[in-house]
C-alpha cells in the first residue's frame, strides 16, 4: 500500500512537472517570439535614428523584411547608385526618397510601424533576383502581415518619383500620412546676399568718388553688352542647354554651326556675338572719323578700314545665315 502511494505521488509529481514543462513551453515560445520581434524593432529603430534610410544587404533583407514575425511595414528602394552603373535616374530617385524618409523621421507621428530601407544592386544582387527585378530604381512596400501584392510596387513610369507622389502612395498602402518637407534651398539667397555685400562694399570704398556712376560711357557699354548677349540667343542657350559644338561621329568633323534654323550651338552664338560687335564697331568707326579732329589722311584710311570691316563681316553673317535657312536666295560678297 505504501509503495503504491509512493509510486502514485512520484507519478503525480512527475506528471505535474512534465505538464508544467509542456504547458510552459508555448508561452515560453511566445515570449521568445515576442523577444525576437521586440529585438528586431529595436534594432531597426536604432538604425533609423542614425540614418533615416536603412542600408541593407541580402541577409538583413531576409531577416528584417522577409522573415516573420513582423508588425511593421518596410518601404524598400532597390537601386544602383554606384558610379559605374551610370544610373542618373537612380540618383534623382534616391534624393526624393531621402526627402520622404527625412520627413517621416522628423514628423510628429513618427512610430515604429514604418521603416525606410534601401538595397543597392552591388551589395545585394540576390535580393534583386529573389524579387525578380532587373531594372532600377524600384520602390516596394512590404506589409507587416502577408505577402506584397500588385499595388505594393510603386509605378514610377506612370507617376514619376517626386517625393509627394511617393508619400501619397505610402498613404494609400499603409494609411500612414507623411507630410513631405523639402529643406529650403538657401543657395539662391546666399548668392543674392553675397552680391549685395559686394556691391555695398564697392560703394562704401568709393563713397568719396561716385563719379563713375554718372559716367555715360560705362552705362553705354553695359547697355551694348546686354544687347549683344540677347540678340545672339543667350537666353535660348540658358533655357535649352545646347552643346558647345557637335562632332560628327563618322567623319570626325566638328560642326560649330547648327544645320537648321530651329537650334543653335554655344560656339555659334559666340561667333555671332563677335560678328555683330565687329559690324557695329565698323559703323561706329565710320561715324567717329567723320567728326573727330585729327590728321586728315589717317582719318581717311580709318574710314576705309571701317567700311571694309562692315562689308566683310556683314557678308560673313549673311553666309552663315544662308547655311541655316535653306532656300534663302541672297548673299553679299561671300557665297
Amino acid at each position: 500500500m505504501a509503495d503504491c502511494r509512493k509510486i502514485f505521488s512520484t507519478f503525480v509529481c512527475l506528471s505535474v512537472v512534465f505538464f508544467l514543462l509542456v504547458v510552459d513551453s508555448p508561452a515560453l515560445g511566445v515570449k521568445k517570439k515576442e523577444n525576437a520581434l521586440g529585438d528586431k524593432v529595436q534594432q531597426l529603430m536604432e538604425w533609423s535614428s542614425k540614418r533615416p534610410v536603412i542600408r541593407m544587404n541580402g541577409d538583413k533583407f531576409r531577416q528584417y523584411v522577409r522573415a516573420a514575425p513582423r508588425n511593421y511595414s518596410v518601404i524598400l528602394m532597390l537601386t544602383a547608385l554606384q558610379p559605374q552603373r551610370q544610373c542618373t535616374v537612380c540618383r534623382q530617385a534616391n534624393d526624393e526618397f531621402q526627402i520622404v524618409a527625412n520627413s517621416w523621421r522628423y514628423s510628429p507621428s513618427f512610430s515604429n510601424k514604418l521603416f525606410f530601407a534601401s538595397v543597392d544592386y552591388d551589395e545585394g544582387a540576390d535580393v534583386f533576383s529573389t524579387l525578380k527585378l532587373n531594372s532600377a530604381p524600384s520602390f516596394m512596400h512590404f506589409p507587416g502581415k502577408g505577402k506584397p501584392k500588385k499595388g505594393d510596387t510603386f509605378d514610377i513610369q506612370r507617376t514619376g518619383f517626386a517625393a509627394e507622389s511617393i508619400a501619397k502612395w505610402i498613404n494609400e498602402r499603409t494609411d500612414v500620412h507623411i507630410r513631405v518637407f523639402r529643406p529650403p534651398n538657401y543657395s539662391g539667397s546666399i548668392a543674392l546676399g553675397l552680391l549685395f555685400t559686394l556691391i555695398g562694399g564697392l560703394l562704401y570704398l568709393r563713397r568719396n568718388n561716385l563719379e563713375f556712376l554718372y559716367n555715360k560711357t560705362s552705362w553705354g557699354i553695359g547697355a551694348l553688352c546686354i544687347v549683344f548677349a540677347m540678340t545672339s540667343g543667350q537666353m535660348w542657350n540658358h533655357i535649352r542647354g545646347p552643346p558647345y559644338a557637335h562632332k560628327n561621329p563618322q567623319t570626325g568633323q566638328v560642326h560649330y554651326i547648327h544645320g537648321s534654323s530651329q537650334a543653335q550651338f554655344i560656339a555659334e552664338t559666340h561667333i555671332v556675338i563677335l560678328l555683330h560687335a565687329a559690324v557695329t564697331f565698323g559703323m561706329v568707326l565710320l561715324h567717329e572719323t567723320a567728326v573727330s579732329k585729327g590728321d586728315v589722311g589717317k582719318r581717311r584710311i580709318v574710314t576705309l578700314v571701317g567700311l571694309g570691316i562692315v562689308a566683310f563681316f556683314f557678308s560673313l553673317l549673311l553666309s552663315i545665315f544662308k547655311s541655316k535657312y535653306h532656300g534663302y536666295p541672297y548673299s553679299f560678297l561671300i557665297k
Binding site: G233, M235, W236, F314, Y325
Partner: protein
C-alpha cells in the same frame, strides 16, 4: 551718400533747386528754371561735365544757300523751282506716303495668292464678335453670354475680352456705310491690320522726329513699313489684337514723349486717352504701365526730374488708371495685382520727390536738414516693414510662362530673320543716343533694353521689339548718312578754293560709304519681302501644294466641311472636335461646340480628350452624356497632313 554731400559738389554760383511752381519763387535766378521746353540749364548741370570725346559735336554747317541767277532758276523743273521749305515738305510727304503705301501692300501676299479670307484660329473668334457687335449693338455685345461655345457651360464674352479691336472695326464699318461705301464686315476685318500698319508708319515718323530729327524719322518710318517682325502679326487676314495694339502703343509713347518734353497737362491727358485705347486693345498694356514708371525712375536717378515730368506722370497715371479700369476685363487689377504696383509706387515717389524739392526751396538749409533726416528715418523703417509684410505674404511679381510654340525662347537666326540689318544698326543707334542723352533718349534706351530682354525669352514678343529696333536703327542710319552727306561735294556751281578742315573725307570715300549704306538698305528690303512672302503669308485654313505636273492644287477641305455642317445639320446640333477648331466652327459653321481655343476650362477639355482616346463603347457613353450630335475628325490621307 547724403543729399548735402552731393550739393557740395555743385558749382556755388547756381541755385540749388528750381522751384516746381515758377510763380512762387520770383526772387530766384531768372536764368534758371525756364524748363518749359528743354532742360538746358545754363552752366548749371547737376551732372558732372561730360568728357569731350563723348559729346557729339555737330561740325559748323557750311553755308548751303546756292546763289543762282533767276535765269538759271527759270530753266529748272518745277520741284526745284520752289523754295527750300516747300521742297522739304514735298519730300517728306512723298517719302511718308510711299512708306505708308508700301506697308499696306507688302501685307497683301496671301490675299493675292488665295483670297480675302480670315487666317488661322484666333482671328475667327474676333471676326465673330465683331460681326455680333455690328449686328446687335454695343450694349448686347457688352452683356453677351455665349451659349454656343463650351456646351453646356457657356462663356461670358462681354467681360473676358479686350474690346478695342472689335469696336474699331465696327466703327470703321459704320462710318463707311454712312457714306454708302458698303464694304462687307469680313473685308473690313481682313484689311484692318494693313491699314493700321500704315498709320503705325506715320506715328513712328513722329515719334522718331521727337527723339532726334526729321531725317531719322523718315528712315525709321521706311524701316517699320517692311520689318518682318511686325508683319508676321499684321498681314491682311490676321485679324488679331496685335494688329492695332502696336499702333496704340506707339501713339501712347509719342504722346508721353511730348508730355515729358513740354510738361503740359494737355499732352498728358492725350497720353492717358491713348493709353486707354491701348488697354482696350491688348493685354500687353502691362508692359507700358511698367515702362513709363521705369523711365520716370531713371530720370529721377540721373537727376533730370523736373516739374514737367511731375505734371506729365501724375496726369498720365491718374487719368490712365481710371480710364483703364473702365474695361471690364481689367476691372480692379490696377490697384490689386502686383504687375501694376510699380506704377503706383513711382507715383507716390514722384509726389514725395516734388514735395521735398518744394520744401527745400522754402526752408532754410539747417531746418531742411533736420526735417529731412527725421523723415527719411521714419519713412525708411515704415517702408521696410511694409516690404517685409508683403514679401511674407508672397505678393511678388511672378512671371507666368506657358509652354506653347510661340512662347519658346529665341535663337539668333530668328532675330536675324525678323530684323536683318536692324540687329546691328540697333547698337549703333544706342551709341548715338548715349552720345547725346536727353530725357526722351533715356526713354528709348530703356524701352530698347527691356524689350530686347523679353524678345530673347519669348519669340512672340519680337513684335514689341520691332518698333524700337526700327527707331534706333533709323537714328543710327540717318546719323551716318547725314555725316557723310555733308562731305559730298554736290555743288558744282560753288568754287572751292581751299579745303576746309571739317570736311576732309573726300568726295570719293564719302560716296562709297553712302553707296554701301544704300546697298544695305536695298538688301534689307529684299530680305524683308522674301521673308514676308515665304514665311508669314499663309492663311493656314486654305492649303496649297504643287501637283506632279507643276499645277497648283488648293486644299479647301476645312471650309467645305464647315459649310457642310452649316447647311446640312439642324440649328441646335452640337459638334465635338479638338479645341483647335472651336473658333472656326462657331464662326463658319455656326453650330454649338464643346471646347474652343480659349482653353479656360481644362477639365472640360480633358473630358473631350477622354472621349476621343477611349474605346468606342466608352466614348459613346461620354458623347451621349455631353449631347454630342457630330464629331469632327481630321485626317490627311494621301496628302500626309502633318498631324497624322
Amino acid at each position: 551718400m547724403t543729399v548735402s554731400g552731393l550739393q557740395g559738389k555743385l558749382s556755388s554760383t547756381c541755385p540749388k533747386t528750381c522751384p516746381i511752381l515758377p510763380n512762387l519763387q520770383k526772387s530766384k535766378s531768372k536764368a534758371c528754371c525756364k524748363r518749359k521746353t528743354e532742360n538746358k540749364h545754363p552752366g548749371c548741370d547737376r551732372r558732372p561735365p561730360a568728357s569731350a570725346n563723348t559729346t557729339y559735336q555737330d561740325p559748323p554747317p557750311k553755308s548751303r544757300t546756292i546763289k543762282m541767277s533767276t535765269a538759271v532758276r527759270g530753266k529748272l523743273p518745277w520741284p526745284l523751282k520752289m523754295s527750300y521749305d516747300k521742297q522739304d515738305t514735298l519730300l517728306k510727304l512723298f517719302v511718308l506716303s510711299i512708306a505708308a503705301v508700301l506697308s499696306f501692300s507688302t501685307r497683301l501676299f496671301s490675299v493675292l495668292r488665295f483670297e480675302s479670307v480670315i487666317h488661322e484660329f484666333d482671328p475667327y473668334f474676333n471676326y465673330r464678335t465683331t460681326w455680333f457687335l455690328t449686328e446687335e449693338g454695343f450694349y448686347s455685345f457688352h452683356n453677351w453670354f455665349d451659349d454656343r461655345a463650351w456646351y453646356p457651360l457657356g462663356r461670358i464674352i462681354g467681360g473676358t475680352i479686350y474690346p478695342g479691336l472689335m469696336v474699331t472695326s465696327a466703327t470703321l464699318y459704320h462710318v463707311l456705310h454712312f457714306f454708302n461705301i458698303t464694304i462687307d464686315i469680313r473685308n473690313v476685318c481682313v484689311f484692318l491690320a494693313p491699314l493700321f500698319s500704315s498709320l503705325t508708319t506715320l506715328v513712328t515718323y513722329h515719334l522718331t522726329k521727337e527723339l532726334k530729327d526729321v531725317s531719322s524719322g523718315l528712315v525709321a518710318a521706311a524701316m517699320i513699313a517692311a520689318v518682318p517682325g511686325y508683319i508676321s502679326r499684321s498681314v491682311a487676314g490676321s485679324y488679331d489684337n496685335e494688329g492695332i495694339a502696336i499702333f496704340c502703343m506707339l501713339l501712347t509713347y509719342l504722346l508721353w514723349i511730348k508730355a515729358v518734353k513740354t510738361g503740359s497737362l494737355f499732352w498728358g491727358a492725350m497720353c492717358a486717352l491713348a493709353y486707354f485705347y491701348m488697354v482696350s486693345s491688348w493685354g500687353g498694356y502691362v508692359f507700358l504701365i511698367n515702362l513709363i514708371p521705369l523711365h520716370v525712375l531713371a530720370l529721377m536717378a540721373t537727376g533730370r526730374f523736373s516739374h514737367r515730368i511731375y505734371v506729365a506722370y501724375s496726369a498720365v497715371y491718374s487719368l490712365g488708371t481710371l480710364l483703364s479700369m473702365q474695361i471690364s476685363f481689367v476691372g480692379f487689377q490696377p490697384v490689386q495685382s502686383s504687375e501694376h504696383m510699380a506704377a503706383l509706387g513711382v507715383f507716390g515717389l514722384c509726389q514725395i520727390h516734388s514735395f521735398i524739392d518744394y520744401l527745400r526751396a522754402k526752408l532754410s538749409k539747417e531746418y531742411f536738414e533736420i526735417l529731412f533726416r527725421t523723415m527719411a528715418l521714419f519713412v525708411g523703417t515704415a517702408v521696410t516693414g511694409v516690404g517685409a509684410v508683403l514679401m511674407a505674404s508672397g505678393s511678388i511679381l511672378q512671371l507666368r510662362c506657358l509652354n506653347v510654340s510661340e512662347h519658346q525662347p529665341t535663337t539668333w537666326s530668328s532675330f536675324y530673320c525678323d530684323l536683318q540689318m536692324l540687329v546691328f544698326m540697333f547698337p549703333v543707334g544706342l551709341y548715338y543716343c548715349f552720345c547725346r542723352l536727353t530725357d526722351a533718349n533715356i526713354f528709348i534706351v530703356i524701352y530698347g533694353i527691356t524689350s530686347i530682354y523679353f524678345a530673347g525669352v519669348m519669340v512672340r514678343l519680337m513684335l514689341v521689339l520691332a518698333p524700337v529696333m526700327c527707331i534706333l536703327s533709323g537714328i543710327g542710319v540717318s546719323g551716318i548718312l547725314s555725316t557723310y552727306m555733308k562731305n559730298l561735294d554736290i555743288s558744282k556751281v560753288q568754287k572751292k578754293t581751299k579745303k576746309t578742315e571739317n570736311y576732309p573725307i573726300k568726295n570719293e570715300v564719302a560716296s562709297v560709304v553712302i553707296m554701301m549704306m544704300s546697298l544695305f538698305l536695298i538688301t534689307y528690303t529684299f530680305h524683308c519681302t522674301w521673308v514676308t512672302s515665304e514665311a508669314y503669308s499663309s492663311p493656314s485654313i486654305v492649303l496649297s501644294a504643287r501637283g506632279g505636273d507643276g499645277s497648283r492644287i488648293i486644299f479647301d477641305d476645312f471650309r467645305e466641311a464647315y459649310y457642310w455642317l452649316r447647311h446640312n445639320t439642324p440649328e441646335d446640333a452640337k459638334v465635338m472636335s479638338w479645341w483647335d477648331y472651336g473658333y472656326q466652327i462657331t464662326a463658319m459653321a455656326n453650330r454649338t461646340i464643346l471646347v474652343d481655343n480659349n482653353t479656360w476650362n481644362n477639365t472640360h477639355i480633358s473630358r473631350v480628350g477622354q472621349a476621343m482616346a477611349s474605346s468606342e463603347e466608352h466614348a459613346y457613353e461620354i458623347m451621349r452624356e455631353l449631347d454630342v450630335n457630330y464629331v469632327l475628325v481630321i485626317f490627311g490621307g494621301l496628302t500626309g497632313y502633318s498631324s497624322d
